[in-house]
């Protein structure tokens, strides 16, 4: 799956967790979930669960700990879907 497609889908997943709508509209792979989008760090767990449901994957603790920005979130999703491209 194309990284840009996942990024656009992630944008929708992130909507309920950020009040910073302008930053969300302008996200790129370098956007930091906590620093740039001001997401409560405990809500990262909710985002991971939403991503799991959306892509029918399971994200383990080691992978979850790698997630800090949009880019490595996409990395983990692609890795777990088993389709590196």
């Amino acid at each position: 799956m194309d990284r840009q497609v996942i990024l656009n889908e992630l944008k929708k997943v992130l909507v309920p967790y950020t009040l910073n709508k302008e930053a969300l509209n302008n996200i790129n792979e370098q956007t930091d979930l906590i620093k740039d989008l001001k997401i409560n760090s405990a809500n990262l767990v909710d985002i991971i669960i939403d991503a799991e449901n959306q892509y029918h994957i399971e994200i383990d603790m080691d992978s979850a700990e790698r997630i800090s920005n949009v880019g490595n979130c996409i990395d983990v999703i692609i890795e777990k879907m088993g389709s590196p491209n």
Partner: protein, 153 residues
Amino acid sequence: MYNYILEKLPYKSSFRFIDNVSELNENGVTGDYTLEKDAFFYEDHFPGQPITPGVILIEIMAQIGLVILGIFIINLSDNSSEGQEGILFPLLTSTDVSFYKMVLPGQKVTVVSKKEYFRFNKLKCNVQMFDESGELVARGIFAGTIGKVKIKS
């Protein structure tokens, strides 16, 4: 029957808001607390008209609904650290609560919590509080982390 778990709570005296745990398993918990008539917050909230502050009701719901259940779940999955666990520090990470009735000094409230999920050390629960007549006092969604928490300033 489940009150052994009260010993593991980090709260003491005036900030421990739980008397009994009547049901406890990995999917939920039920417990009760009777508000002390001379609790420190009644004197000023409000002078001459003591009413339990909403924030105290939230604390009662969190201690029973999240902390008790969280400690129970962590102890289930983490036998290895038995004996060297020290004090578990719970951190409330979000609440979304609606209130329906006032709670007065001396009243007993019962908290019923059902687990939504426990992942990556985060526990999220649907929590309800009832008074002695079984009427809903408050309900909400609570989430918190517990255990090896890194506190960043």
